[in-house]
Symmetry: C2
Subunit: 76 residues, 2 copies
Amino acid sequence: MKTRIFVTLKNGVLDPQGKAIHHAIEGLGFSGVHDVRAGRLIEIEHEPGLSKADLESMCTKLLANMVIENFEIEQA
Amino acid sequence: MKTRIFVTLKNGVLDPQGKAIHHAIEGLGFSGVHDVRAGRLIEIEHEPGLSKADLESMCTKLLANMVIENFEIEQA
């Protein structure tokens, strides 16, 4: 079983990586982009028995910094 | 309009970051995890007029290294 975890910066937290990507996109000549935010994607291949509570616990303890980041769990 | 781009390593490409996360998850006492792969998530806020072809072009030119990475575009 495969689960995807998305870790994104909270609103209001500065994102220099996203800013750099935005700048580079404009440098390539694309217009119409208002904002870019960079985050992390973690794909976990696990046994079906692993509970959502366990996955949430992994996120809060290890995968996301809850002070500045949010996470989202998407089970396939 | 918001589009999410997922950049993941191709199958067979070594992923030391994923391996380190996997190791740390086991160190926390969670069992049942077979594999972890780390990737990037890029959220783009743009005008509705920006085409899928433009987004693909951004990915191949800038956001993903096509030699070792795949990308996926998810339009909300």
